[in-house]
């Protein structure tokens, strides 16, 4: 969808595509270049942090901290920002900016430049595409708001259910009220303020209907996004959601050519390919194994709600699959029995592998 929209842009040299993770930068760049004719100008695809650093902070940093000579983005951060004052809160001694407060720094620079930073962007760009915007958090959202108030046209693509990453975990701006998938409420507020319009895209082009309805159940109906529609046809063999034994992932992975996803340390599991939840974002595989954590088992068997971040992580993992998802649990038959009694899983087809 994003790639198609970008390809319709009149002046692609005045278009930029932003996204938070490098995986996404790559995916977007590949998708866009596939849609575009060979030899035509491909718009720039760049990371959100690089954008803040080079296009907002760098040009106008002297208006805020004239003595800081900006080197780049810091690879590591201090353990505590509590006692850091002034520019030390934002930069290492060598002039590397801390990612956690990049958004705040950008907000301060925009203010110190009296809006010149935004005006500069207005003369460079007609359109900015922001992909995976659910990752934009903290003061980065204030930067986003400034962009929304500018003359630049913005297309923001986000799936609040995939809120597993954050541009900043230490910046507490908006953290309390718009936690995890609750971020949608902020966009809804902006919609009421007339800053943007929201279109809900409920059709998935990746997962088959059975996987789609299972994933919908993970976050429940309260998020207010409606039911996911899928017209992806099943392939006719080993389709749908399965429960498998945690100790049998290796055999299953080999039999079904499945990729294993675990919350962390996925590489300790035996499988043909292993990825951690967080890094799996943006990925597509035909067959997936998701290793259930304790809370996920509790959620599946007893319907005990997952904390928002865990729910999003689980959601992302499940939705990587196109045809089959196998949840690796301690005791598959017992789990299936527990699940069939729960109204939560009513009408959702879950099988033993």
């Amino acid at each position: 969808m994003l790639a198609h929209a970008v390809s319709q842009e009149k002046d692609r040299s005045r278009t930029v595509v932003l996204t938070y993770t490098t995986t996404n930068q790559l995916e977007d760049a590949v998708r866009i270049s596939k849609v575009l004719d060979r030899g035509t100008q491909i718009p720039r695809v760049t990371g959100w942090c690089a954008f803040l650093l080079n296009e907002i902070i760098r040009p106008y940093l002297p208006t805020l901290y004239p003595h800081v000579s900006l080197s780049g983005l810091a690879m590591s951060e201090p353990n505590s920002f509590k006692y850091l004052k002034g520019s030390n809160k934002y930069f290492s001694r060598e002039g590397f900016a801390y990612p956690s407060f990049l958004g705040k720094l950008a907000v301060d620079v925009i203010e110190a430049s009296k809006g010149a930073a935004i005006r500069r962007l207005e003369s460079i760009y007609d359109t900015i595409y922001l992909d995976e915007a659910q990752d934009i958090r903290g003061n980065d959202l204030c930067v986003l708001e400034s962009l929304l108030r500018s003359s630049i046209q913005l297309f923001i693509v986000l799936d609040p259910r995939q809120s597993t990453l954050s541009t900043t975990s230490r910046d507490t701006k908006y953290k309390k009220n718009y936690k995890s998938h609750g971020i949608l409420e902020l966009y809804r507020l902006w919609e009421r303020q007339g800053l943007l319009g929201i279109e809900y895209e409920n059709e998935t082009r990746r997962a088959t209907p059975r996987i789609a309805s299972f994933s919908d159940a993970i976050l429940g109906p309260n998020i207010g996004l409606g039911e996911t529609i899928s017209n992806v046809p099943e392939r006719g063999r080993h389709d749908g959601v399965f429960l498998i034994d945690r100790n049998e992932t290796e055999e299953y992975s080999e039999a079904h050519h499945a990729t294993l996803l675990a919350i962390k340390q996925s590489s300790t599991y035996a499988a043909i390919e292993t990825v951690n939840f967080k890094l799996s974002k943006g990925m597509t595989r035909d067959d997936i194994i998701v290793v259930a954590t304790g809370p996920i088992e509790q959620f599946l068997s007893k319907g005990k709600p997952l904390p928002p971040e865990s729910a999003c992580g689980f959601y992302v993992a499940v939705t990587r699959a196109k045809y089959s998802v196998a949840i690796a649990v301690k005791n598959p038959p017992k789990m299936l029995a527990a699940m069939t009694t729960l109204p939560l899983w009513k009408g959702i087809d879950i099988q033993l592998a």
Partner: protein
């Protein structure tokens, strides 16, 4: 386009600020006023090189302003605090959104409103300062006229956005077309090279390199490797292969062509035209074209062609900087786009010229406009007779010819009104115009130019009413008591005034030439018509000439 350029410490230009116009900018000025330095500075700040030599390798002590360097050494000797001489060139741009990526507030003056800009500096980095000072102090002890140790200097080329420029800033391009006496082939080759760098995409470059590599290896494998050269005075078993070192880079083998003839076999006019049009027309960026004295290497016809090409094809995004000594170029490109450079100071524009006058000078392409614009002191006379009589009179009264005292005597017919307007717009020359009264009152002539005349700067001197209609009767009447001498000098056999006057009128240039050529001991006894003497007193005040 370049909106402003500030140059500090670079050659002739010690402290130079200029706001050029969009489109064509004509820069005129005497020699050594810094015209070429200005073009060099524009090249440096937009390309990082001068005539295709990178600044980093081309930097030399003579790039530094001599006065600054001398003052630096004087302060050093006197033990005063001083900073090493620096070169700083700052260009700001406007009018093109594509240049907005150069925008920010990392310019030299951070309080200033932010703009797209480039800043080129040659300075001694902070960490080398103490070493630099040790070195220059040591050197100064041995030799009082030391040159700067340039190995301590570093080039820094940054955008106002705060980034270093690595290769060249995108969307800024600058081409220079000059008449430097280097072999043409070299100029064209490096020009083509710069075209390759700016025009070919990285992918095209890689493709060419790849194909040449495979052709090379095929030639090596199929032919050269089969050639046996053993025993040919070489000690070991040597073989042959194609050179793959940078020396044989394919870029050096690319030339411009026209009708499948390489440009190098075409004339220099073709070459200049090619370069100028390639950089003006074949470029969708915001090109800057530097044209150095195009009149030096073009025939009149080619020059006309070049000028009309520039005139016809230039878009507002483009900017042309032309230095010239030719009034033809100046008039053709428009006096209203002319900037005057006086000894390394900021150029003054020709302002407030009426459109009719601009058109007038454009039509009069061969006219000596430049002499009026450039002259510190000019005397406009009607024709050759007046010029010679003026010169004679000047020599009699001042003991030297006008030109020896920096006064340009120009035959200008009776078009002095336009000249006054032009001089008024430049606001620097002291101009006297001389004319006959032709039977009309002196006052009526002066009234006609009142709008552009100015006491002490631009004054019209008219032959006094009662002393004759034209120069000849004026000459006769002021030498009333010396008719035989005047007659002898001008070669009239007789001593009646009416006959002498008639003789003068029918031998106009001849009599004045004889007057000028006669020994001053003789001709000096003659009187000078009053209005000419007044004009001399105005253009070369007597107090000054005595001192």
């Amino acid at each position: 386009m370049i909106e402003s350029i500030e140059i500090e410490g670079f050659r002739f230009l010690r402290d130079f600020k200029w706001e050029p116009k969009e489109g064509v900018n004509v820069i005129v000025g005497a020699n050594s006023t810094g015209k070429s330095t200005l073009l060099d500075a524009i090249e440096l700040v937009t390309k990082g090189s001068i005539r295709n030599v990178r600044a980093t390798s081309g930097i030399s002590p003579d790039w530094f302003n001599v006065d600054l360097v001398n003052e630096f050494y004087e302060s050093l000797e006197a033990g005063r605090d001083c900073t090493p001489p620096e070169i700083s060139i700052v260009a700001t741009f406007s009018g093109d959104r594509a240049l907005a990526h150069l925008q920010g507030c990392h310019g030299p003056n951070r309080d200033r409103e932010d703009k797209p800009g480039l800043w080129f500096r040659i300075c001694v980095p902070e960490d080398l300062r103490s070493q630099f000072f040790t070195e220059v102090r040591e050197a100064l002890k041995l030799n009082p006229h030391e040159t700067l140790p340039i190995e301590y200097y570093k080039c820094s080329w940054t955008t106002f956005k705060g980034e270093q420029v690595v290769r060249r800033p995108s969307h800024v391009s600058c081409s220079r077309v000059d008449a430097s006496p280097e072999p043409h082939s070299r100029a064209v080759d490096s020009f083509t090279r710069s075209l390759i760098d700016s025009k070919l995409t990285d992918e095209q470059l890689r493709t060419i390199a790849g194909r040449i590599r495979s052709a090379h290896s095929r030639i090596d494998a199929d032919i050269l490797s089969t050639v046996d050269i053993s025993g040919e005075t070489l000690p070991e078993t040597f073989g042959l292969q194609l050179d793959k070192s940078p020396r044989s880079d394919w870029r050096n083998a690319v030339v411009l062509e026209k009708g499948s003839l390489p440009l190098s076999v075409l004339g220099s006019a073709e070459q200049v035209m090619a370069k100028a049009s390639v950089s003006l027309l074949g470029n969708d960026e915001s090109p800057i074209l530097l044209l150095e004295e195009p009149e030096c290497h073009l025939s009149h016809t080619s020059l006309t062609k070049l000028l009309s090409m520039i005139h016809g094809s230039i878009s507002p995004k483009q900017q042309v900087f032309v230095t010239t000594h030719s009034p033809f170029v100046l008039n053709r490109l428009g006096l209203d786009r002319t900037f005057l450079m006086a000894a390394a100071s900021t150029p003054s524009t020709i302002v407030g010229l009426s459109p009719e006058t601009v058109t007038y000078f454009k039509r009069l392409s061969g006219y000596d406009t430049l002499r009026i614009v450039l002259a510190e002191k000019a005397v406009l006379v009607e024709g050759p007779t007046d010029e010679m009589v003026f010169s004679w009179a000047f020599r009699k009264l001042r003991g030297s010819l006008p030109s020896e005292r920096g006064i340009d005597v120009i035959e200008y017919g009776i078009r002095y009104k336009r000249a006054f307007e032009l001089a008024a717009s430049v606001d620097r020359a002291r101009i006297a115009a001389l004319r006959d009264n032709d039977g009309k009152s002196e006052e009526s002539w002066k009234d006609a130019v009142i709008a552009f005349a100015k006491e002490g700067e631009r004054v019209l001197f008219v032959g006094h009413d009662d002393e004759g209609r034209t120069l000849e009767p004026q000459m006769v009447s002021c030498n009333h008591g010396n008719i035989p001498l005047l007659s002898t000098i001008v070669g009239y056999c007789g001593d009646d005034e009416a006959g002498l006057e008639q003789h003068l009128l029918s031998h106009k240039t001849l009599w004045s030439l004889r007057l000028l050529e006669t020994d001053l001991a003789e001709s000096g006894k003659l009187n000078v018509p009053r209005y000419i003497e007044e004009a001399i007193d105005f253009i070369d005040p007597i107090e000054k000439s005595l001192s």
